[in-house]
Structure formats: structure tokens, C-alpha cells
């Protein structure tokens, strides 16, 4: 059976405001002190009135622009009615028919990793709503009460709905990773998936391609049929998104082979399934069809919002470079591979800034990329710090690399300087430009340009190693090893290749 997986993602992301969306309660993840961040507005007490947080709306506009969305000139908020203990008002304030933004796209790197070969995943809409509280269920099986914490109630929440343009489990993961990167870059969300700042639901079905009557599934007339759409809820890690969609594709294929049920068949409706991350399976949830009659209507407590071009222009002027644009620029300006550019960008804005400063300082983007993606990244990870706390700042690493680029230092010696800077830092010596110079001096790492000095060292070595010299003359070139060792001990900063060639020349000259 040949099929295509068709996926659309609904992503909920909490915005990084200081206060909640409609009241002054602090917007902070705080499960340890339940029900300490509430007020009459977010408790839904009678007589209280919501007022829109201007920063929540501004962050929403920024995100919509970054997602290449159209911004609606007129937008309003609606009540989505459902009754659940974590929703004290009995309705969620959301946006129904006039979301503030719609019709955008997000470019996702192609699975081959090629630069510029990304796929545009269309965004249907992004709208601004309020988060609900958090229920904790009794896991003992004794049917104890559920506990409700309303600290999260009223956290500004952006819902970003993609079109069903995603074609594989790995592409879904790539989309979510790109979105995560974009949102953290923009500073609109911390996107902490453990804390639920970024949550994802996936709509999944299969387009099964006709088999032309060969009888191994699909329709016999060569047409494509679709399986019923399944919404998999609460995919709260990149891995969960990928594995749940892969699982669901397999499951739907088997189900179709058994039942032949298609999208649009009588009695076939959208199914909601949960994800069990321990067992790596999706499972049927109780029928939600009954409950999903939300009876939206405009919220009379909130007035509509109009957006003007001047306002958008002002936001646009303040926007930072988007990660996708920066990635392309790094590839272009610094001649990086798509892979290196992606590694650097994916580390976040501070890391990309570090790279850019080093690259500009040493004048060689590739050299800078090699160091930053290998030595620096390894040390940052080992030290479990961020790049901003990394002991060797960009204005110290830059000059080290500049010496390598300028053939004053070999790469090997550069690594030695790098290691000395770090170990010195651990002993309380601050890495600096002058520290580089003294390390090079102290350890004799300067590349020897003086051939007289090199020749003197080589001649001394030749004089001490008659046997090796004889072997070299007989063509056993590996005998050069002991001679090199001797010379390199004297000329620490010398380029080994140059020394080797010079020894061979001297041996054959004399």
C-alpha cells in the first residue's frame, strides 16, 4: 500500500509577558505554590472585567510577522464555551472568525539539509487566547478528587495552526524545531516544553494512492483516498511529535487495510487520540464530539482591536533578524556549509552573535565555524554553561584565530593556546589579548619564520641521528620521525609539514 502522510500541527505557545493577558497577576510558571497567582478576573468571579495586555498583543504581532502572516486590520475576541474545572469562567476567551493574523508560512529545512532547499509550510492562522489552569488527577486508581491549580489561568497563549502541508513525521519535528527556534530568537516565548510553554497537537491522516487494480490496497481505480483524520493531543516534546506521527501513520494504514474506512464515509468523524509516551502508542480518548459544541460568540467584555500600518512599521523597525535569514546570510557571507550554519543558528541568538564576532575578528568564517562548532561548543556543553558565560569571549578567540589565519600560529598551537586560556581561567587568570601573547611566548608556540633558526635545529638533529639519516637516504622516509620529534621540541610553534619537508631536503642536500 502506497501512501502519503498528511499532517497539520496546532501549536500553543505561552507568551513571555510579565503579567497575564487580561489581569495583573504575574505570568510565571509556579506549580509549587498553587493558586497564589490569581485574582477575581482570572478566577472568573462575577463582576470582574478583563482588559487586554498591550505587550501580549505586541508579541503576537511580532510572531505573526515572523511567520509571514497577513495581519488583520480589525480583530476581536470571542467566547468559546465549554465546561471544565480548569476553566473557571465556563468559557475561554479566544478568537473565532476574525483572528488577528492569517495566511503565513514557515520555511523548514529540507530533510537533505540543503541550504535554501527548504519547504514552505503554510500557516492557516495565528490567534491570541488565554490559557486554562492545570488539573492534577488522582493516579492511585482509588478515584480521589482531582486538584485544580489556577496559577496558569489567563496566561497569554498564541495558537499557531499550520495547513496540512507536512508530509512526514520527521518534517513535523523539523517544523516544530524551526518554530521553537524562531520564537525563542524573537524572545516572544521561552518555549520550555517541560513546563508546557510550547505544546503541540497533530492532525494526521493518510492519502492512500490507488494501486491500479493490483489488489494490495488503495482504491482499484487508481484514485487517491484519504483515511479519517485523527487529532493526537498533547505532544509535548520534539520526540513525541515525531514518534506519535510515525506510530499513527502505521496504525491508520493497518486500520484502513482492515476496515476500508475513509474520510467522508457516513458516520466517520474526526477522532481524538492521546499519546502515551511511556508505551509509545496513541490511544482512543472518550468521544469528544458531544462536548465540542463551543457556541462561540463575540465577548462583550472586550472591545475589538484595530491595527494600523504605522504601528506595524514601528514593530518592523525593531525586529531582529529572523533565524532563517541569518542562516542564509552566514552561508552567503562567511561561506559556511548549510550544516555548520544550521548548527550555529540552532544554538540560539547569543551563540550566533559569538560566531559572527569571531568570524569578523579573524576574517575567516570557515575557520571561525570550525572552532565555534567544535572546540567552543564542546567546552560549552561540558561546562554546562551558556555561550555568554563561556570563559573565552569572542574578542579573545578572534585574535587567536587571526594568528592562525595569518600563519603566525599553527592550528595545533592555536588549540594549545585555547586549552591554556581555559585552564588558566579555571586557575583564576582571565583570558585576554595580552594573555594570548604571553602564552605563545611562554610555550614557544610562535610559528618559526626564521629559516636560519629552523635549519640550525635540523642540523643539530641530523648530527645526533646518523642511523635515521642513513635510513632516509635509503628511501625509508618513516625514519624522519625521530628527527622531527627532536626539531619540534625546539621549535614548538613550527608547522610540522614544513619541518618535515625541510628535514628531508637537508638530509638529501648533505
Amino acid at each position: 500500500m502506497k501512501y502519503t502522510v498528511v499532517v497539520g500541527l496546532e501549536v500553543h505557545v505561552q507568551l513571555l509577558t510579565r503579567s497575564k493577558i487580561f489581569c495583573g497577576c504575574v505570568n510565571r510558571f509556579n506549580p509549587d505554590e498553587p493558586n497564589t497567582q490569581t485574582c477575581p478576573v482570572c478566577l472568573g468571579l462575577p463582576g470582574s472585567l478583563p482588559v487586554m495586555n498591550d505587550e501580549a498583543f505586541r508579541l503576537s504581532l511580532i510572531t505573526a510577522m515572523a511567520l509571514n502572516c497577513q495581519i488583520a486590520p480589525f480583530t476581536k475576541w470571542d467566547r468559546k464555551q465549554y465546561y471544565y474545572p480548569d476553566l473557571p469562567k465556563g468559557y475561554q476567551i479566544s478568537q473565532y472568525d476574525l483572528p488577528f493574523s492569517h495566511d503565513g508560512w514557515l520555511e523548514v529545512a529540507d530533510e537533505s539539509g540543503d541550504a535554501g532547499g527548504g519547504r514552505k509550510i503554510r500557516i492557516n492562522r495565528a490567534h491570541l487566547e488565554e490559557d486554562a489552569g492545570k488539573n492534577t488527577h488522582d493516579e492511585s486508581g482509588r478515584g480521589g478528587d482531582s486538584r485544580v491549580d489556577l496559577n496558569r489561568t489567563g496566561t497569554p497563549l498564541l495558537e499557531i495552526v499550520s495547513e496540512p502541508d507536512i508530509r512526514s513525521a520527521s518534517e513535523a519535528k523539523a517544523y516544530l524545531e524551526e518554530l521553537h527556534l524562531l520564537l525563542t530568537y524573537l524572545g516572544v516565548s521561552d518555549c520550555n516544553m517541560q513546563e508546557g510553554s510550547l505544546r503541540c497537537d497533530a492532525n494526521v491522516n493518510l492519502h492512500i494512492h490507488g494501486d491500479g487494480g493490483t489488489g494490495d490496497g488503495g482504491s482499484s481505480d487508481g484514485e487517491t483516498v484519504a483515511t479519517p483524520i485523527v487529532e493526537v493531543k498533547n505532544l509535548n516534546s520534539f520526540r513525541a511529535v515525531e514518534t506519535a506521527i510515525a506510530y499513527e501513520a502505521e496504525r491508520q494504514q493497518q486500520e484502513f487495510a482492515q476496515t476500508g474506512r475513509k474520510l467522508g464515509d457516513p458516520g466517520v468523524s474526526k477522532e481524538t487520540r492521546g499519546w502515551n509516551a511511556d508505551r509509545n502508542i496513541t490511544f482512543a480518548q472518550r468521544g469528544k464530539e458531544e462536548a465540542s459544541d463551543y457556541r462561540y460568540f463575540p465577548d462583550p467584555d472586550l472591545v475589538p482591536v484595530t491595527v494600523h500600518e504605522e504601528q506595524l512599521a514601528a514593530i518592523r523597525r525593531e525586529l531582529r533578524e529572523f533565524p532563517a535569514a541569518r542562516r542564509s546570510r552566514f552561508i552567503q557571507d562567511f561561506e559556511l556549509s548549510a550544516y555548520d550554519a544550521a548548527v550555529i543558528i540552532n544554538q540560539g541568538e547569543a551563540f550566533a552573535n559569538y560566531f559572527e564576532a569571531v568570524a569578523q575578528s579573524c576574517g575567516d568564517g570557515k575557520q571561525a565555524a570550525n572552532w565555534v562548532t567544535q572546540s567552543v561548543l564542546r567546552e560549552v556543553n561540558e561546562r554546562q554553561t551558556g555561550i555568554s558565560e563561556f570563559p573565552i569571549p569572542a574578542d579573545v578567540l578572534g585574535p587567536v584565530l587571526r594568528r592562525i589565519v595569518g600563519a603566525e600560529l599553527t592550528v595545533k598551537s592555536g588549540r594549545e593556546v585555547f586549552d591554556h586560556l581555559l585552564s588558566g581561567y579555571d586557575d583564576g587568570i582571565e583570558p585576554s589579548g595580552s594573555r594570548i601573547a604571553s602564552l605563545i611566548e611562554e610555550h614557544g608556540l610562535a610559528m618559526t619564520a626564521d629559516t636560519g633558526e629552523m635549519d640550525a635545529a635540523i642540523d643539530a638533529a641530523i648530527a645526533e641521528h646518523d642511523r635515521a639519516v642513513a635510513d632516509i637516504r635509503e628511501g625509508k622516509l618513516q625514519a624522519v620521525g625521530p628527527l622531527m620529534g627532536k626539531v619540534m621540541r625546539v621549535l614548538k610553534g613550527a608547522d610540522a609539514q614544513v619541518v618535515r619537508q625541510r628535514i628531508l631536503d637537508r638530509v638529501n642536500e648533505t
Binding site: T17, R18, S19, C23, G24, C25, N27, E33, P34, N35, T36, T38, C39, P40, V51, M52, N53, D54, E55, Q70, A72, P73, F74, K76, R79, Q81, Y83, P85, D97, L98, H102, D103, N124, R125, N135, T136, H137, D138, D145, S146, R147, V148, D149, L150, G274, F283, Q285, R286, E290, A291, D293, R295, Y296, F297, P298, P300, L302, V303, P304, T306
Partner: protein, 152 residues
């Protein structure tokens, strides 16, 4: 319990009945769902229409459905009473059918004010004891509610 429905603002009650899936229902009293494309094409409220359909009597199933959506338990006695009273409310609302709105632009809000914002400044929240004060049941830290199945 009737008071719970009647006591709600007028709009809430109508909204509760506005989109219920029954062919005879006075559906879409409020802004009716339009295809997104039609809204996008104008990106304004102009594309939303106010639709009123002829009145038909409420049925027992209608009451049960609305009660279920509000998670209210209603007895057979109450259903009879609610059917009549809510029917009268809807009939009253349907007097709006008589208004000629052909030349009237739809509005999203009763007041013609837009862009009311609050600065993003945190204020003090209620102490927990006060937040929990009206709850039927708490453990001093959380609101307690009857067990919710863990599959939602």
C-alpha cells in the same frame, strides 16, 4: 438551576442555543461562521451576517443537550419547566426578526470603542486563602473537584 441559566446575562443564554446542531434550531443568532476565505477577502466584519431563522418549539432533547454542555443534571420535571421558560425567552429574542436590518452594517460590539489596552505591569494577586474562599471543596492548596478521567 433554572436560575443558573436565567441569571446569566441575556446574551449568554441565547449563545447557549445559537449553534446547537438541530435542523429546527434558531441557529446562528450571532455572527454565523463564515468560510475563512470570505472573511479574509474583506478582513472586516462586513462579511459576517446576522441570521435569524423561524422559531420552532424547543424539544426535550434540546434541553438535555444544552444541559449536558453546561454539565447540569436536570430532572424530567425541570425539563418541562425549562422548555417553556427558555422557549419564551427565545420567542422574545425573536422579536428582532421584525427589524429590517438590510441597510445596517453588522457590528462586533455594542460600543464603538476599539483598542483598550492595559500596560504589562504585574499587580498583587489574592492571597491563596481568599482565592479558595468560595470553593465548595479545597485541601488548603488546591481546588478539589470530583475525579476527572485522565484521558482529556
Amino acid at each position: 438551576m433554572l436560575a443558573m441559566l436565567i441569571g446569566l446575562p441575556f446574551t449568554w443564554i441565547v449563545a447557549a442555543f445559537s449553534n446547537v446542531n438541530s435542523p429546527d434550531w434558531p441557529s446562528g443568532f450571532f455572527l454565523r461562521r463564515q468560510s475563512l476565505s470570505s472573511i479574509r477577502s474583506t478582513a472586516s466584519l462586513k462579511s459576517c451576517t446576522l441570521v435569524l431563522t423561524p422559531m420552532s418549539p424547543l424539544t426535550t432533547d434540546d434541553i438535555r443537550k444544552v444541559a449536558a454542555l453546561a454539565r447540569l443534571k436536570v430532572s424530567d420535571d425541570e425539563i418541562g419547566r425549562l422548555k417553556q421558560q427558555l422557549g419564551e425567552i427565545l420567542q422574545y429574542v425573536h422579536r428582532l426578526d421584525n427589524v429590517d436590518t438590510s441597510g445596517v452594517e453588522p457590528m462586533a460590539h455594542a460600543v464603538e470603542v476599539t483598542n483598550v489596552f492595559r500596560a504589562d505591569e504585574p499587580r498583587e494577586s489574592l492571597p491563596r486563602e481568599q482565592a479558595l474562599a468560595n470553593a465548595p471543596q479545597t485541601d488548603g492548596r488546591y481546588f478539589l473537584v470530583p475525579p476527572i478521567l485522565n484521558d482529556q
